[in-house]
Symmetry: C2
Subunit: 245 residues, 2 copies
DNA sequence: AGATACAGTGTATGTCGTACGGAGTTGATC
DNA sequence: GATCAACTCCGTACGACATACACTGTATCT
């Protein structure tokens, strides 16, 4: 029942706090921020208990006063790295969901290491849940049921993740595997597909559709895919309204 | 230019092969299969160079004759775990894409550890590319351009990943974090959200929409989200046909 | 036959996460 | 206001793991 990771309670400020003994010299937020700084600079592999502690000027083991394990540190990082979701203002549901999804993708792309952590666990941090909350409010406000809203939010969130993944892969931010991003990938596919057996893929390669790397950066393709989703949602909303009225 | 991981070439059978010396006692496929067996049984954490080697009855270091590093082993696993994509038969594009996406989700859910590897790198293995190829063929056959088809395939693939992630999280296959799956997660959210500030989420929780775990298993929600996407695609195809005719 | 390239192995090393116990510090209690 | 308990921080040690290196035996080519 209360088996939740200690760090989750602490992220929510639900920690009773010590009543005796020395005041902690740091906070969970500071620890997470230091770790995020390292992850942004060196990638997730650079985040070690030792390196984070060194960045904070404390010993490795002192971090274990704030997180119970490295996994908990990653959980805290994932939540702390998320900004606040866009304000609904007086946008239509469609415009808001567009802004929401794009902002979601953007902060994932800005912290590529999030893609190695975030998708794996359901959201539990205050920031992540605020994103979910906003989307649910807007979607239910447009006339869908709570269950449908959850599906919509989940699907859009997944789209943001996949877009960010592609964007990162294309622009080669991670900068590891040999050739620089898309060009190398396309060339690689060309060589592999050659032998035959992949007619659809070969045709796509020949048409040069893979070559438009700039599209991804300038997010023409992002908008394209998002439109697919929003059109589907719009159709659903329209259907709902007809049945209700 | 040819900085591609050695294991990729080997996956495609492009390995020149030794001309002298003893014949290798194993194949990359055997190594990958052994690793997959361990991952299925114990999770990805159970996959160690030592444990895989032990399962094959060889020494740890002999694996390095087949893969250059553990990362390469994971790449090989990710491709080898994928089954062949469904046959198009004489299905409509809509029916085929439904089958494709469901089959995609199913094999991801059957090997949850794939979710920790696959989304991070663009597909390069023969099996993964065959999935892509099939989707591209069907979508271009329905009248979309190659570029659009890539987007559609990417989006559907992302949806399969997100569905599988949710399914795994809900059914709690990984079986780590305390309470069993959805019930615990819902209860946790209820406690955290209580204080206020999350109106949309609180409403969704009260409506019980989170409680419908069976829906995810019986994939009512999967179909729901997929319909959103397919409706969007259908709208696009219709638009194309009108412009063309 | 002799040389050569290659598969498989054992040992050693470096990197990490983290368990354990100690020392110093602060607030609560009588 | 003295004592005690809770608590933070730290140093050390250990165990797990990936992998570099050097070596041995074997199969093919000249």
């Amino acid at each position: 029942m209360d088996k939740l990771p200690v760090v989750v309670a602490r992220m929510w400020g639900l920690d009773p706090g010590p009543r005796r003994g020395p005041r902690p010299g740091l906070t969970l937020d500071l620890v997470a921020a230091a770790a995020i700084g390292i992850a942004d600079a060196e990638g997730l592999a650079g985040v070690r208990m030792g390196s984070v502690a060194a960045a904070l000027g404390v010993s490795t083991m002192s971090l274990y006063g704030y997180v119970a394990s490295k996994d908990e540190l990653l959980i805290a990082m994932a939540d702390a790295a998320a900004p606040d979701p866009p304000e609904p203002g007086d946008l239509t549901w469609r415009d808001y969901l567009t802004a929401w999804t794009r902002a979601n993708r953007d902060f994932l792309a800005a912290h590529p290491w999030l893609l190695e952590i975030a998708p794996l666990t359901p959201p539990t941090g205050p920031r992540a849940l605020r994103w979910l909350d906003r989307a649910l409010s807007v979607v239910t406000g447009a006339g869908l049921t709570a269950g449908e809203a959850i599906n919509v939010a989940t699907t859009l969130s997944a789209y943001a993740v996949s877009s960010a993944t592609l964007l990162v892969a294309m622009t080669g931010t991670v900068a590891e595997t040999g050739p620089e991003g898309l060009a190398g990938y396309t060339a690689l596919l060309g060589r592999l597909v050659g032998p035959g057996g992949y007619p659809g893929l070969a045709a796509a390669l020949e048409s040069g559709a893979f070559g438009a790397a700039s599209d991804w950066v300038e997010d023409a393709d992002f908008t394209f895919g998002l439109t697919l989703l929003l059109d589907g949602i719009e159709a659903l909303i329209t259907r709902r309204e007809e049945n209700t009225s």
